[in-house]
Symmetry: C2
Subunit: 506 residues, 2 copies
Amino acid sequence: MPRRSSNRRNKPDAFSIPQIPFQHVENPYPPLEILNAEQVSSIHDTSMKVLEKVGMRIDDPQTRELLENAGCKVNHDTTQVLFDRGFIEQQVAKAPSTVKVRARNDERSLTFGGNRINFMSVAGPAFLTDSDKGRRPGTFAELQDALRILQSLNVAHGANGGAFASMDLHPETRHLDTLNACFTLTDKVAPVSLMGRTRAQDAIDMACIMFQTDYEGLRKRPALYGNINTNSPLVLDREMAQGAMTFAEHGQAVIVTPFTLSGAMSPVTIPGALVQQNAEALAGISFIQTVNPGNPVMYGSFTSNVDMKSGSPAFGTPEYVKATLASGQLARHYGLPIRASAPNASNSVDAQAAYETQMSLWACVMGHINLVNHSFGWLEGGLCCSFDKMILDAEMVQMMVENLKPLEINEDTLGLSAIEEVGSGGHFFGAAHTMERYNNAFYSPILSDWQNFENWSDSGAQSATERATKIWKHLLEVYEAPPVAPSISKALDTFIERRKIEILGA
Amino acid sequence: MPRRSSNRRNKPDAFSIPQIPFQHVENPYPPLEILNAEQVSSIHDTSMKVLEKVGMRIDDPQTRELLENAGCKVNHDTTQVLFDRGFIEQQVAKAPSTVKVRARNDERSLTFGGNRINFMSVAGPAFLTDSDKGRRPGTFAELQDALRILQSLNVAHGANGGAFASMDLHPETRHLDTLNACFTLTDKVAPVSLMGRTRAQDAIDMACIMFQTDYEGLRKRPALYGNINTNSPLVLDREMAQGAMTFAEHGQAVIVTPFTLSGAMSPVTIPGALVQQNAEALAGISFIQTVNPGNPVMYGSFTSNVDMKSGSPAFGTPEYVKATLASGQLARHYGLPIRASAPNASNSVDAQAAYETQMSLWACVMGHINLVNHSFGWLEGGLCCSFDKMILDAEMVQMMVENLKPLEINEDTLGLSAIEEVGSGGHFFGAAHTMERYNNAFYSPILSDWQNFENWSDSGAQSATERATKIWKHLLEVYEAPPVAPSISKALDTFIERRKIEILGA
């Protein structure tokens, strides 16, 4: 439930940490392209061979039937579906190059495509960790705190209710409370789980209530997106297919992300992993376009490598960087928006967590990734959500957003008058040019401590991670829920109550 | 003194940490250009106005005389020197676009220019820190350890004896022992201090001994480089001018790096700071070209911003990123090799140290910086050298080097046969394609821990920084000095002994 302050005026707010305002981010620089046109073409061509010769095992009979009716060859014994390259190319061409997803605060509605870059919070972890309570299964109350923190961080473009599982809620109805929390505690885009038709359909019905619209209205202005993973290599499982089909039937956006960890679920070479990623992503996208031609979709890239000694996934590696840059090129080759992530494989919020995340982030930014998933809170290769890491990530993403603001070059900024005023020797602290600008001249960090060693020591010699803990606690203290009309709140509650009875029995 | 192993065969060596071999690094991708041609031209033009209208105060009479004889206007009351843009352009055009510096292991000789990128260790700190002993003034024995670590880290292109001051040595003769340690404990390029004529000349004489050559031979194949800083704004002090002049007289390479911290020693706008940096760098380079036309030089960029609340310098900020990218463009505009750095402002080897360093590193790599100074060991905005940070940095730089290796796209790497072999479901661990490649398929980290949480906890739940401590200790244990001919060693010792008497008295 939203916490309310009795005396708003005397209470510190989220702006008491030096945040940049919520904003839509465009990358003004050209993407870093590590493949030439012929290499893009080779990957495309090889992935088409994969779909023609091996195809994908599709575990959902309805999806197989749909694809068979559309002309694909289906082996009914193995449930393997073979895709002709002409079919793939035709279907992929139907997908729009830009995807829009509505938020209840319309200024926070998102566009995916072109040079736009959106940073989304972590999804998928089983565990939660913070400096106070350590690593543990999370509760719904704690998930609500995660959403409050994400709402408070302006640089987070959305808040994913899948930050971690609420273990105190029933797994069959958890999705209802989770989406309700996203809708009421944040006013940002809330991605949802596409694990099966029920969850997808409930999300659609709840979005209709939240946005006070019907299926047709929701179709005209999509307010939901969800991600499906292929079960690599070359399998689309039943739940994912059904979830995606439900969303496509209602015109909501679907990301298709192959789970192509190189060396484990895909070839041990990055080009091989990209071939397989491309085959699986395009097969999934073609299926969605078969359900609903023109349905909003995104090309998902999650290709990284595993540690060949232990089999553990690695993230933020040079292989991850190259796979992400190449994936951006592939998606642009097809005119599709592209999703990747900002993951790391560290077990604690330490220097490794920071440098691996930076590697991933830079790869996403240089590769013109439109949706940078897992940008806030990801730890342990995705097994754990960390509140401290959310703050660390907010700082890193804020800096990245600032990097993308071009230098303004004009007579004023070139500062000749200031240089003439100060001359040789002396300093600029008191110059008129400085006095006019010093307040907002430079990026102000959330987390970075720039005191000298003595002052830093005197103030407790805290690491960035220790400082992060204080910041999210502060954000929770000053959080205020963005108001929801009581009638909507009530209608959501009524819907959830009914669905819980339908799902679990009275 | 080099430590020697009695039983080399049974001893672990530096290769027992997963390093990439020593290598010369080329950036195969285009630089990230954040200025258009007109903006480069505006910065150039404004900096020429600065040199024409304000000029620089030059504290060294010999340098002023030289510039006056070359046609510059000198105000003998203020010691201000005014530079005509025609003079600057003419002098800068004399500088070579590529600088080569010889190392005693010739495979480790360095080239600066074009797409080459070299990573050099920290220089300048007053203090040393490590996890065991904390922060302290360093000793010569500890400086020797720093050099041993840098020699052991293959990814370090050189070893700077200025990693921190040896407080147990006399400041007037410290440079002799320091360069001797660089020459004997490492076989890499050893940058030297240009604080005054004496230090520069001693370095030249010692290089002649080390490389068994004379002044003419050293001039033909430079084996030294040094950095001078302008005393911003718009001052060149006597010691720096004399050191640079000495190096130019002997044809050794000089970097001219303005100390243009935006808001303090230069305008509070990054374009203004770049104008001033450009003016100071080109004035210094023009002076060196006046001493010795064609002398190897580099354009130095150190522009960052200060925290306007405290006046503390900040590094790895968005402003630093943009200044570095723009500086690369300016240097290429003049056809000069470019030096920048990989600094951070953290007081401990924590997440902030990692993310700020990553920001700096990516800026250098994307900006095609030829010499990335302070790449190993820099902490506290440059006030402290950290052994732990050296290892963290080695990991980050290694990953960056791997990022720059293009993907090989061919039938083999595209892996169609492997994808056909494994088919739908299953995994690639046992595939023939994997078995042939798994040993060297992926980047192996020095420092990153990719174990799962349980194994990581069982093995002590160490942070990256704690693991770094173990690694440099291991490197010191297994270090072996690259052999020096005893006659050279002896000649260096004799020279140093004589010079100490000359400088300090018998």
